[in-house]
Symmetry: C2
Subunit: 114 residues, 2 copies
Amino acid sequence: MEKTAAVTALAALAQDNRLDVFRLLVQAGPEGMPAGAVATALDLAPNTLTFHFDRLRTAGLVTVRRDGRSMIYAAQFDKMTSLLGFLTENCCGGAPCAPAVECKPARKRTKVPA
Amino acid sequence: MEKTAAVTALAALAQDNRLDVFRLLVQAGPEGMPAGAVATALDLAPNTLTFHFDRLRTAGLVTVRRDGRSMIYAAQFDKMTSLLGFLTENCCGGAPCAPAVECKPARKRTKVPA
DNA sequence: ATAACATTTCAACAAACATCGAAATATTGC
DNA sequence: GCAATATTTCGATGTTTGTTGAAATGTTAT
């Protein structure tokens, strides 16, 4: 990962609402969830949310696909992994002081347990 | 680590010059290096640099101590480690999908090899 | 005490950011 | 086609950010 990409990704995560959004998407798993669901879960105005989604998407941390009238946003685990990689890679002067880190969904989630 | 602290740390790293500064300090090792040396290495105005140091320090990513008329800045490896921990911890819905990451200086550096 | 050096503080300013309200765009069902 | 739903786009606005120049502070040497 290039430094510019890292800065963009870090900036995308360096905001309260956006960090919440991203973490919610991470927990939602690779299938993602519709924008409206995120909006209600985090109590954010839909247009504000779009703004933040855009930032996350530009950073490559999130992808979108349309499903009917809903837009389904999903976390991009690969990008998260490479960001972590970049941070640890440039840690310790390039010497491998940390084990490889990978961030991928633990398992497929069906529904949130009541 | 709390979310607020994470956001602050991420914001501190989410800027070109600051990421450079931090990485330089990381490579300098736990003994750190004087502000002036960082200024020349990265070609930054001293007051601008102070501004960025402040941000890093507020985020807990850096510490200062005075040595004569120089201010020695050093990376705070622990903080970096806990930031990485926070990011991986909240990855995958709390399930441990990634091995523990630690970021500490590889070894003591004497001088940069020519 | 004075001069030189290293760094910080202060005030100012353009640029980017986060949020809001209103209007526009797509999609579905009638 | 028309109304309803889901989301985005646009314009405006207050806030934060990054940089600069000038002045102030602290430290060392003479």
